[in-house]
């Protein structure tokens, strides 16, 4: 097996201007280490939180129950699980228990008795699930609450920013949140926000038939996690600005900038795009950044040499002529363009749903124009510009809810280095 560096970083350009606040983009690629042996995997501590409001009745709830039963088969005595169902009231169906064969059999019997009814108290169902996870928090394991819903939260806390705030607080205390939205009627902004802030994943479940695929793949990924709470830590001069334009949360830690990547599965590859803003400077002077990679269990640091887990880049101040003539790294340009396109598409989804068709088109058009300005002859970038123009027409008229959800999920996955089904991407070869 060839050794893959854990972190690589490339800049779109290496020269900066003396009399501008130059902005340069950096593509950071992180590759997680290979899987440990099965008997060494991290224990998982999961809560399954299932919506059983009236709209879930019939095939949806039956398939969700079957899938949870099937997912339990992957757990064993090292793991813990609990099951919570909610409509307007919240029931603890299975209190947090180790995943022994007997506990799993009992859980399946209890799941059988659940049917759909009532309205949707998403927040309390979620908190009760998180409570089960938190009661037996596995210090060395993966603690996660999986929330499945097909409708709008209409009881309890329903505000998207408030729920995201709680997800982030729980995340900071060791409990992550993954969300599954089924069908056309849930709020993808709310569920995506909870998952992003909660350090988990959001899945759009098109129809009942794909419930199984998504839950199985999420549970499978929790069993494959090799590095927890992975973070990039960027050290730069005090007057240099650093932020991620990909959707990972950026926050300051003292004079450094930290970008949270969440938990990574074996050999997962994740791309992060940074925007670096430079101060004025004298021609000839160089300035740089150091991007370190760390995680809760020092998995990356254990990889070998002290230099294995950081990447260094530097830029030089040069006159405008040299800046104008400099080479660009097309791969970085493509990564930057795809992040801005994903942002524009998500914004267009929001605007279209709000009935503001002209603004939806305008944001796609203006993003396309900006990409065209640096696309040059690159076929991939030109194709993206063409796609955005075509989508502008689609978004300029009312769109069906399912089409909006498809568009949101596709662009959200692209921005987060995940495939069309929301699964993590792995190192090639």
């Amino acid at each position: 097996m060839t050794t893959q560096p854990a972190i690589t970083a490339r800049a779109d350009r290496r020269l900066i201007r003396p009399h501008h606040r130059s902005k340069r983009f950096v593509l950071v690629q992180v590759t997680a280490p290979p899987a440990t042996r099965e008997r060494d995997r991290l224990p998982v501590n999961l809560a399954f939180v299932l919506d059983r409001s009236g709209s879930m009745s019939g095939q949806k709830i039956e398939l969700a129950k079957q899938t949870i039963a099937a997912a339990l088969e992957h757990l064993d005595g090292r793991d813990r699980f609990s099951i919570v169902v909610y409509d307007d009231v919240v029931d603890l169906v299975v209190e947090s228990t180790p995943g022994s064969p007997e506990a799993r059999r009992n859980a399946v019997a209890r799941l059988d008795a659940i049917d759909a009814r009532g309205s949707t108290n998403l927040s309390e169902g979620w908190f009760r699930g998180a409570e089960q996870v938190a009661t037996h928090l596995a210090a060395d394991g993966v603690n996660r609450c999986l929330v499945l819903t097909d409708g709008l939260a209409n009881k309890g806390l329903t505000d998207a920013t408030e729920l995201a705030k709680h997800a982030s607080e729980l995340r900071a205390r060791g409990v992550s949140t993954t969300t599954f939205g089924v069908g056309a009627d849930f709020d993808e902004v709310l569920l995506q926000g909870m998952a992003d802030a909660g350090g988990g994943h959001f899945y759009f479940v098109r129809d009942a038939a794909t419930i199984r695929d998504h839950i199985t793949s999420e549970v499978g990924e929790t069993l494959e996690i090799v590095a927890r709470d992975v973070e990039l830590e960027v050290v730069a001069a005090e007057d240099v600005g650093v932020e991620a334009i990909s959707p990972q949360p950026t926050r300051p830690r003292g004079s450094r900038t930290v970008i949270g990547l969440g938990d990574l599965v074996a050999e997962q590859v994740i791309d992060v795009v940074l925007r670096i803003t430079f101060p004025y400077g004298e021609i000839g002077r160089e300035t740089g950044v150091i991007i370190g990679l760390m995680d809760r269990d020092s998995v990356f640091a254990a990889g070998g040499r002290a230099t294995a887990s950081d990447a260094r880049l530097s830029w030089a101040y040069a006159d405008d002529a040299a800046n104008d003539a400099q080479e660009r790294d097309t791969d970085v340009d493509r990564a930057v363009a795809s992040q801005f396109a994903a942002r524009a598409r998500q914004e267009a989804v929001r605007l279209n749903r709000a009935g503001d068709y002209l603004s939806a088109r305008r944001i796609l058009d203006s993003t396309g124009r900006r990409i065209r300005a640096y696309a040059g002859r690159d076929p991939e970038l030109r194709e993206l510009v063409g796609e955005l123009a075509a989508e502008g027409d689609t978004f300029a008229a009312p769109m069906p809810a399912m089409a909006l959800k498809e568009a949101h999920f596709a662009s959200a996955n692209m921005a987060r280095t995940r495939d069309a089904q929301g699964r993590s991407l792995k190192r090639r070869g």
Binding site: D12, A134, L137, A373
Partner: protein, 199 residues
């Protein structure tokens, strides 16, 4: 989480602190900075050096003479220096557990007679900023408007819409639909205007 332990060359160290390598050498000769373990071009510096160097720069910007700076630094250990150098203040991890947090939001784990009401009536400031980690999630709670009497289930609140890294728009929701549309347009136009791109 253990911080990464970067090792800097003299040039990198100087760059990260916004000084020239010559200044670094001068500070060392003045006893403001410890020398690196090894000497010569291969010498490596660590975060202790960076923290100390940044602190010296900060104190110099306050026009303290070097002698005074040396005196102040003499009484401080590496941890204290790192803390002082890292302004704005470094963020502490939350002090309470996930379980404490959830119970504070939900109330005690027993079944309550009317738990939905209990949830709605939970004062928004109850889970406020005391032990809060800094995140980029907007925090509407501290800006929330108390419900008007008689409308206890209709809650309006301030939404913070980030437009650019240093600019945000505050909007009180819910808004009448035509106004909401105009705000959406405003956000879109403002973001267009403020968005930087790699051209």
């Amino acid at each position: 989480m253990a911080p990464s332990d970067p090792r800097y060359s003299l040039t990198e160290l100087a760059d990260l602190a916004g000084v020239t390598p010559r200044t670094v050498r001068y500070y060392m000769s003045q006893g403001l900075l410890p020398s690196p373990g090894a000497s010569g071009p291969g010498a490596k510096y660590d975060d202790t050096h960076l923290g100390r160097l940044r602190l010296v720069r900060r104190l110099q910007r306050e026009h303290l003479p070097l002698a005074e700076i040396r005196q102040r630094l003499a009484g401080l250990d590496d941890t204290a220096i790192a803390t002082l150098a890292e302004a704005p203040a470094a963020v502490a991890d939350p002090q309470d557990s996930a379980l404490d947090y959830i119970r504070r939001v939900l109330g005690p784990p027993q079944v309550q007679p009317n738990r939905h009401l209990a949830m709605k009536q939970l004062p928004l400031r109850a889970y406020s900023l005391a032990t809060e980690p800094v995140t980029d999630v907007p925090i509407p709670n501290i800006l929330s408007v108390e419900p008007a009497p008689g409308r206890s289930f209709e809650r309006s609140q301030w939404e913070r819409i980030p437009l650019a890294p240093d600019i945000e728009l505050h909007v009180r929701r819910p808004l009448p639909r035509p106004l909401a549309k105009q705000v959406d347009r405003l956000v879109s136009i403002a973001r267009d205007l403020l968005e930087e791109d790699p051209s």
